[in-house]
Symmetry: C2
């Protein structure tokens, strides 16, 4: 790859994450003037991104992006990404380096790899960042500084391309990059992300009283902020990764039932010991 400053950088999809990626590429100087192009089906989004100087050219369809880009960020929901790939995989510029941001990896990576031209390189990724406020207009709220990034490289990835992507991600502000398999990604993300979203949703689902926040002291607010989720995207992710997610829900239910039993039986010493172990483990966990 030539230096990123000489690359035409393409972004497919200017939602919350595509917008945040574009802004980070612009602000860190990786995207040179006139080198950042993007497509989105929403005209207003394109107009806003152009007016803010976040992108240099905007298109309603991906044709120009895939044809001209040396480096491409695919910032689409999993199902949209699969449809995009079916239509456009054949038209990328030869030698292009491609990455994505999909929150599930086993199915997505398999589908894209199956249909990947030999002259292209695709490094699957997942930025561990987001915001409960969606869309390009809120992209400024999605801060990458110090955040985690997961890469699930393919065997065929060129080592220099992997280094290229990692250097760029650090430059964009991410603090810690972890390389793993799609399988491990889906297992761990089912816990750290999907299970947390299901729990937050269940907490709101089980309480009708919208005035209950008068009794909030911060915990409830922190636990349920992510219940303001993008219902369509998360339904898709939950179902796509359901075998891992259901396992995680059931592990969680096992622990919840154990704590419930200790509380119901008034087993003060055992409960205190178990909560003490929890406190200790959470304290060791960073973040």
């Amino acid at each position: 790859m030539k230096p990123i400053e000489e690359c035409t950088i393409g972004i497919v999809g200017l939602g919350l994450m595509g917008g945040a990626v574009a802004m980070a590429l612009r602000h860190c100087g990786a995207a040179s003037p006139d080198h950042l192009i993007a497509c989105d089906k929403d005209e207003e989004t394109l107009a806003l991104a152009l007016a803010q100087g976040v992108i240099d050219e905007g298109f309603a369809t991906p044709g120009e992006i895939v044809k001209r880009s040396d480096f491409i960020f695919l910032c689409l929901n999993p199902s949209t990404l699969l449809k995009f790939w079916e239509s456009w995989a054949a038209f990328f510029k030869s030698g292009a380096l491609i990455t994505d941001i999909a929150g599930i990896k086993v199915n997505i990576v398999a589908a894209l790899e199956k249909n990947l031209r030999p002259d292209l390189d695709f490094i699957p990724g997942h930025p561990m960042a987001g915001s409960e406020k969606g869309g390009f207009a809120n992209a400024g709220h999605c801060n990458f500084k110090g955040k985690n990034y997961i890469l699930t490289p393919l065997k065929r990835n060129k080592p220099e391309n992997l280094e290229f992507v990692k250097n760029l991600l650090y430059r964009m502000g991410f603090g810690r990059i972890t390389e793993t398999t799609p399988e491990e990604h889906d297992r761990k993300i089912a816990f750290t992300s999907q299970l947390c979203h299901v729990i937050a949703a269940a907490l709101i689902d089980c309480e009708q009283d919208t005035q209950i926040t008068r009794f909030g002291g911060g915990s409830f607010e922190d636990l349920t902020r992510i219940a303001m989720l993008n219902a369509s995207m998360w339904s898709e992710i939950f179902i796509e990764n359901k075998s891992e997610l259901i396992k995680r829900i059931e592990q969680f239910e096992g622990s919840l039932d154990a704590l419930k039993a200790l509380i119901a039986n008034g087993s003060a010493h055992e409960l205190e010991a178990r909560l003490g172990a929890v406190r200790e483990r959470r304290t060791i966990m960073k973040g």
Copy 2:
């Protein structure tokens, strides 16, 4: 009551909350110089509070506090508060106004009211604030600004004393005061506070891998910060309020099971609709 600036103010217990209360009283000017006295069984805590100028006099036992204070904040864990009350309820200064901060109210208020001298007034309260870091040394992390405060007044409370306490709490920085019954307090707090702590604890309890935070994107961290809880205090609170808390855990489990079934069955439309309703309700909830 005379103006708060002329009152001798006593604080029983200089833990996280007693410390934060003392600091707020000092900083807002309600506690005049030489008027703020406190007791704590820990000598180092008293020395630190004196050295920082947070309190004017410190004692290892409550005798001087109950004898001299016109206004008293009882900042003790529920069980310690009950023991304190058994020993000291008879010795308060005549006409004193007393409040507490206990996180459960039905049992505590009943026990204290039963043994309350006619010449004293006791207004039960619960500041909806805290920090996962406990003790006086961390009291500065416990910010009251804009936070909720719950009062469960007794029928015998003098209206002017209730006004006195409310004015003082607003002056200390609290943003919203709700008056309710001990029963409603315990029902609602079981949801907004206790259930959230049980969930956070269960999330950590069900995962051994302390490196899992490499896969965190903020949700997991937000949902489990309160798992760094004071195991002894929370065990006590969970068990003391167990009838309400078990009901809340089971309501939550009902919603979690419903979401789990929709995910397991791949019921995309129903799942999206239910998550959409959750998003809408959480958005309406303030905070």
